[in-house]
């Protein structure tokens, strides 16, 4: 049951439909990819060929001269690439980190001035960057004295409003119940948000793998619950080792499910597969993460989550 009427057509009909679709998609992809294709084949041509009077769509000859030209052009060629990498890497990490935090707060937490602050942030998206260019330069050079440093490039882009907005949109698709139940479990917002390396889940059968999402580590930082390692509602305050029989850790496709040893799994990658099911013995775990999988896992996932939420699972989460 989906948007497309799979049940009406025969298998052949479905195949024909998909073939048509793929052909159409390829045609459009061809058009959008052409500049890139052209860029690539030009890069393997003679350095002079690009920019000549006649252009050929087909690669004429293969040479790496243009590439060696780039690296011989200046002794700093490698340095340039390194510079880009450093700045891009730093900005990426800080944006994922701070934008998701802010997005979560704007979407899920109630505090004074939330709406006003968010609109002020949003307003910034409408300001052309030309507006801020000159004052920003003056600020960097005259006030902070950080001209000619990486900081000058990184600091202004530490976290962008656009990313905060995106993160907020994403967070708002996560049911608030999840956070609430985690709070009931005694998680602070910090614990709700940040991944925790103790989050190892087993289900009642000591088994939990879902081929649908297997090997996918997207949204790793996007969400984040953790269970209480030492604070079960029914056993408060007492640190307790988990009777771990199987890990729910998702490893790359070779299916290493059981060779992790203990709960010491990778702090960031690991929780991606912590997924709550009604049968879980543990409570309040893997909550928000699961929602992050929704998009990629397609149709089956939301239903699963919803079933979990509305069914016995949620009650189990909340029930002391």
């Amino acid at each position: 049951m989906s948007l497309y009427n799979n049940h009406t057509g025969s298998r052949a009909g479905k195949r024909a439909r998909n073939t048509v679709i793929v052909v159409l998609l390829l045609l459009f992809a061809l058009a959008t990819l052409f500049p890139i294709y052209f860029m690539v084949i030009s890069s393997f041509g003679d350095p002079v060929e690009a920019g000549a009077v006649s252009y050929s769509i087909w690669p004429g000859k293969f040479t790496l001269e243009s590439y060696s030209f780039f690296f011989n052009y200046s002794e700093y060629s490698y340095r340039w690439i390194l510079n880009s990498t450093i700045v891009a890497g730093a900005v990426t990490i800080t944006n994922v980190f701070f934008a998701t935090m802010a997005g979560y707060a704007f979407s899920k937490l109630r505090f004074k001035g939330r709406g006003v602050l968010f609109s002020i942030l949003l307003a910034a998206m409408m300001i052309p960057y030309q507006v801020t260019q000159v004052p920003l330069y003056i600020l960097i050079v005259n006030t902070f004295h950080i001209e000619n440093t990486y900081s000058a490039l990184i600091l202004p882009g530490l976290v962008t409003v656009y990313n905060v907005f995106l993160a907020k949109q994403f967070m708002s698709s996560i049911p608030t119940e999840i956070m609430e139940s985690a709070k009931v479990e005694g998680c602070s917002q910090f614990q709700i948000f940040f991944p925790d390396h103790h989050a190892v889940v087993q289900d009642g059968h000591g088994r939990h793998r879902d081929p649908d999402v297997h090997g996918q580590l997207e949204y790793v930082l996007l969400a984040v619950p953790r269970h209480q390692h030492d604070g079960y509602a029914d056993d408060p305050g007492r640190p307790q080792e988990l009777p771990v029989r199987e890990h729910d850790v998702l490893l790359p496709d070779d299916g290493g499910r059981d060779d992790l040893g203990g709960a010491d799994v990778h702090p960031v990658l690991q929780p991606a597969e912590v997924f709550p099911r009604g049968r879980h013995r543990r409570r309040g775990q893997g909550l928000i993460w699961a929602w992050g999988k929704k998009e990629r896992a397609g149709r089956r996932r939301p239903g699963a989550v919803k079933g979990w939420l509305s069914g016995a699972g949620l009650r189990r989460v909340i029930r002391p």
Binding site: M1, L109, K112, M125, Q130
Partner: protein, 321 residues
């Protein structure tokens, strides 16, 4: 016709009313906020706010001050609203506004429609194919915009050997001086925008499509709805927030467009492709009239704000942000 049953529920859903038959996580959770964690809220947004205050709010404020000054290397002088009045009397400014509007109207709807269609077409494919196509369509986004602009310069080469000229030659059309003539320069930029990256919006659309609850389709299927009916009554209403988001950001981006025009035409020929963003850049960094540039950029910001407000007002009635 979609049956009343499904239609009413959909209507209710898009109106944001609670429907008792279908669980609607949108209604349930979107407006709800967690209470009592205000301090955490401030802590979570602290960094974003500080960066914003330092590197956006303060520069804007200072641009506001500059817009009332005549910039001189040694001590600017206060000249009141002169920069603004000069801008409003400037024909070039109005022409650049016109160009920007023209460009926006031609590019944004087409881009959204294309991304929507592509996302719809990717949807029924197998996971692997979906991933392949997502990657393929996202590739141009990853490529450097400057490099792409240069490639497009080659493509639009006015000589008969130019790729686009070769292409239209197959259909018997004559050579065009694409970027060099004021008749086709803007069209060239528009064509480039059409065929450039829709990757981000395709992926956002696809994500939203996958997020639509299956129960709607199921109900529609029970009622015997056709593909188009489902598209019209389920998909399009459900994607409204996504569309609005993409529309607003695309319009803003298009109003601020600068790079393509700067690299490919430099605003010429005969200012046929001078966009507001380019005009501001020229005023600031070519003529060093920072005061005028600041005034114009604030006017542009105001226009963008009004347009965005308009979109939210008229398209965002049912959308909760």
């Amino acid at each position: 016709m979609i049956t009343p049953h499904a239609a009413i529920l959909l209507h209710k859903r898009t109106r944001g009313e609670e429907s008792c038959t279908w669980p609607s996580r949108h209604n349930r959770s979107k407006k709800r906020k967690i209470k009592g964690d205000g301090a955490w809220g401030y802590a979570f947004i602290a960094v974003a706010l500080i960066v914003y205050a330092l590197f956006t709010a303060y520069p804007v404020f200072s641009a506001f001050l500059i817009s009332f000054q005549e910039y001189k290397p040694l001590g600017s002088t206060y000249i009141g609203f002169d920069n603004y009045t000069a801008t409003f009397k400037d024909d070039l400014f109005w022409k650049s506004i016109k160009n920007t509007l023209y460009y926006t109207i031609l590019t944004v709807p087409v881009a959204l429609l294309l991304s929507f269609l592509v996302a719809i077409m990717i949807l029924p494919l197998r996971k692997k194919l979906q991933t392949v196509f997502k990657a393929v369509y996202y590739l141009p986004v990853v490529a450097s915009g400057v490099a792409l602009s240069l490639v497009w310069l080659w493509i639009f080469d006015p000589m008969p050997g130019g790729i686009f000229n070769q292409f239209i030659g197959w259909f018997g059309a004559h050579n065009q001086n694409w970027l060099g003539s004021s008749a086709t320069a803007m069209l060239s930029l528009v064509i480039m925008a059409w065929l450039s990256s829709h990757g981000a919006s395709i992926i956002i659309y696809l994500a939203a499509l996958l997020g639509i609850d299956d129960s709607y389709y199921e109900a529609a299927d029970l009622d015997g709805a056709s593909f188009l009916q489902k598209l019209w009554h389920i998909v399009i209403p459900s994607l409204k927030p996504t569309t609005l988001f993409l529309l607003v950001t695309a319009v803003i981006g298009s109003f601020q467009v600068f790079q393509n025009a700067y690299l490919m035409t430099g605003g010429g020929p005969d200012h046929a492709t001078t966009m507001v963003g380019l005009l501001i850049f020229d005023n600031a960094f070519k003529y060093f009239e920072f005061g005028k540039a600041a005034a114009q950029s604030l006017i542009l910001a105001l226009i963008i704000a009004l347009v965005s407000l308009f979109q939210f007002k008229f398209l965002g009635k049912d959308v909760d942000y």
